[in-house]
Symmetry: C2
Subunit: 353 residues, 2 copies
Amino acid sequence: MTIRELAKLCGVAVSTVSRAMNDRENVSPETKERIRAAAEQHGYVPSSSARTLKLSETNSVLVVIQGETGRLLISVLQLLETAFAKAGFTTNLTHIVDSEAEASTIERVVLAERYRGVVFLGRYGNRDREASVTLSRRLARIDVPMVFCTTSDYSSSGAMHSFVSADDQRGAADLTRYLIERGHRRIAFVGAGPENDAGHAWAQRLAGYRNALADAGIPQDPGLIIRAAVPERLYTLENGFDSLTTRLMEGMIDFTALVAVCDEVAIGAAGALREAGLRVPEDCSLVGYDGLDLARYWSPKLTTMQQPLAEIAEATARVMLNAMTQPGHATEQVWIRGSLLEGQSVLPINPQP
Amino acid sequence: MTIRELAKLCGVAVSTVSRAMNDRENVSPETKERIRAAAEQHGYVPSSSARTLKLSETNSVLVVIQGETGRLLISVLQLLETAFAKAGFTTNLTHIVDSEAEASTIERVVLAERYRGVVFLGRYGNRDREASVTLSRRLARIDVPMVFCTTSDYSSSGAMHSFVSADDQRGAADLTRYLIERGHRRIAFVGAGPENDAGHAWAQRLAGYRNALADAGIPQDPGLIIRAAVPERLYTLENGFDSLTTRLMEGMIDFTALVAVCDEVAIGAAGALREAGLRVPEDCSLVGYDGLDLARYWSPKLTTMQQPLAEIAEATARVMLNAMTQPGHATEQVWIRGSLLEGQSVLPINPQP
DNA sequence: CTGAAAGCGCTTACAG
DNA sequence: CTGAAAGCGCTTACAG
């Protein structure tokens, strides 16, 4: 049913129907009620494409998630949806397969659908750093506000985009320092991905781990960096288990503590240790990252870096709404720090003589 | 940039631009190439709202998720997206808060956006059974194909809607029978929600548990049905932990086995048992439901019902595509059974004398 | 192969 | 308070 049919049915002009449906002032209350009742009864709903075409803008923001979606991002997504809804914006979600992470894909959907803004949730980019920089530049050409949430803009070209970023590097450094302060020297890192992808959380966390070692004057042993056995499902239990199992088959345990790229990998790795007859924390200390429920209900309770999801979502929504409502607004960069959540998965040891 | 501007720029009519952008036959290859290059260069993308308005239909299907989203549904969602994309359909996701689960909400968005079809992922309905039936009836009035995925149509009015449903009742009965066959008689169920909501998975699984007990002639003890301590986050570790903790504080353990409403609740409950000094499976056997990764990497490996996600998604996509491409097609009902995954969380016991 | 024109269903000045 | 009309950006018969 169209506006025209409903108008005829009610014996009024289409403009009157439009005013009634949009709750404008200049309709008599009686007419408005009559029209709305008729709409309800006949199931008339204004076509949003006609409306969008006429007004040439939507009230929608697009959320882009690339690759696999962990529990963490889903939580942030739900918080974002709520925040945007409160401000009168609708949220749409699109998944992008890794291989299709090109500016043109985004450009097409954003321009075609007339989105008011885009939130990149989690990482967005190509494996290749060069390509990622190009990507970032092309995105900047699209005249729609964008904010990168949970990942920083790694365009290496200054403040091109707004972002709200968890400070992964610092968080991983804090966790590593926590181990060092408790006497650990042989500290391994599990869950490093393939090379050349600074935009990924694992790369930032690995960098933080390295920084902490360097600051403490502990020589870096490349053999202690355990690469992902299942890189396409990097942040999973499976990857944690398989990565460490592979490593333990290659040789004996030559570390006293393990920094995992995230909680799931930590708990997967703990499974591998257990199967090898090693106990956490007696035979190997363990720290995770993210602060999932899982970490809290695991035994032993996992020491980890709690991500402040509400804070991340709140900041992202705020930056996005600013950018949408104040065109020409400068880009904003927000760094958000997690807090170290102490569990029972770390045991102090005597420093090596 | 609009089609008109690009036409002027290229010195052709808008109709020619339209033909070039839509890759029609009746344009000379040279003209087509020239126009497409110009579009690429100037960032011209056809407005989808204008296109939709003109064609009066989209190629989008709407996926509706109500309430909290577990890991399981996200996996199904991703599989669905892939399947629909293969058939040329775009997938859009909308979350519905529990309290807003009314037919009119769906009606509005489906009609406004001209969706071709709707998939309800997970449960869709009101607490109140009466209201749910009304809801189902009103949905049936909307002239757009719908399929209920992972939940059945509980309109109690015959085959009103298509659905692809995991057979939760049977699965839970299978698990309970598995315990009974191993000598258990005092079997508790943890994670029952508030009353009056047959559409929820917990209610189906609870019914299956009850059926199995009845079939074995074991009297039902209402005291063995442990209600959710955190009903708004029913299928979570937190709920499993809190529900069982509450129960263990009320009195000693008076059961030898525990059927959990899902894997997360099972593992949360295991945490509560552990804190009470009880071991799984020595002091209490435990089964979950869903077959999450978590169940596999938990220690002891959890006995659970594996949900065949790929199969569920495949069937849902097939039914939906049938309905969309063959209007007037009869509704289809597909029941999908899981398979029992044997872990080490169940110990046989001697039957009570 | 190309162009001129109608029309998809709305909204909003403009006139009354 | 209400109506008639223009126009948003496309697509597609229709004519050449």
